[in-house]
Chain length 260, copies 2
Amino acid sequence: MVIEKDDKLILLTNDDGLYAGGLKTLLEVMEEFGKVILISTIESMSGMSQALTVKTPLRVKLLEENYRHKIYACNGTPADSVKLAINQLAERIPDWVVSGINHGSNASVSVLYSGTMAAAIEGCLYGINSVGFSLNNFSPTADFSICKKYIRIVMKKIALEPLPGGICLNVNIPAAKKNEIQGIKVCRQSKGNWREEFEKRKDPMGKTYYWLTGVFQNHEPEATDTDEWAIAHNFVSVVPVTVDMTAHSYIDKLKVRFKK
Amino acid sequence: MVIEKDDKLILLTNDDGLYAGGLKTLLEVMEEFGKVILISTIESMSGMSQALTVKTPLRVKLLEENYRHKIYACNGTPADSVKLAINQLAERIPDWVVSGINHGSNASVSVLYSGTMAAAIEGCLYGINSVGFSLNNFSPTADFSICKKYIRIVMKKIALEPLPGGICLNVNIPAAKKNEIQGIKVCRQSKGNWREEFEKRKDPMGKTYYWLTGVFQNHEPEATDTDEWAIAHNFVSVVPVTVDMTAHSYIDKLKVRFKK
């Protein structure tokens, strides 16, 4: 793959692994925009959040190269993959970091656990325009083709004018039919949490173990400006995500409390 | 351990493992406030962020119980540990989730990678008052006793008046001598990032592998209202952290961009 001066260089990753249908679709769309460095794992890395691999060495293997893309397999987390690609593999700093399409929604607080969004946040920390895409459908055989139109719209907006520093996008696409999708809605992260219900089992030795399961609870189902509302009403949700976790609205009150 | 009606129930964890000096110090202070359920791993879990274990089962073992505490070993991440303790181990919903004392600072963007802060964020998602404590000293033999005074001050403030929903605290203590510490400073997360420098090595088979290293870059060393500034000037930094990652200040502008 030769990167010409005018080529956009796109770093592509996901957290569902190299053989995920969502990644294949996103690669197809990204090749319309530029040259692609794709890096992911063989196995899925769901729920890895911003985790980094610090205790075991990272390995990378170039699996495929043609004039439009290079595909690398890596044994690290999505955040590791982005760091490694930027620092060791890419010919120059990529123009975009694009992640997904995740199999399943990353709306509301799922952004905190998502490996897909961690990859976008990692790109953002490097000052690169970054977007995570997710389809609200966990099925491995989900139809990702409906996403293409909206991915193009979002990336064309970014091509036209970059995002501000420290902000990336969390884009969630409803699992609807093409003609049911109502358009794009810019919104905020819904308040909610996962109520965990662990499955408690006994292994063949009679010892207890637990599987993490969980049910999402939307704390504000009636608010119409949230990502959860948008997806439930067949809109594509676009949430600007900041890497600054400070609760700015509470700083002054907290100062008063510590002055007492 | 019997939990009386008036007892405060405190869930304590960390990401440096059960034998970390910082955890021992935090347990000592928490026992001044109430009954403690401590849960952590044998090995350290640094850099695990909000990662969840979804592919392997979780195991828990009660290691020790007396009238003041129960100590559990778990094989999960800090976020797993908090979920498991709240859902399966605790007699009732804990009053506080307290995490640390981390061996090393979790100021600036380290909050995004930190297992210590992930545990506090997890507690916060359950609506529990939660605080992560870190000492800006990576040495396993660091003197954590200087932290005690400030942990007491912070927790007394919270005992007096709970934090608002969706907000927890990131407390970083400078590696200074007792008489050098200037007090507590409420501040915001500093802008910065890690510039990763991977160490590239060859294994005995001649194959390449990488170790993640990294150097933190503070993007605003002159701002005096940040956690990085506070710690560098021997203040204890207290940052209110929100679970809402929406870049609220950018929503309106983004709406305009998507209307064009």
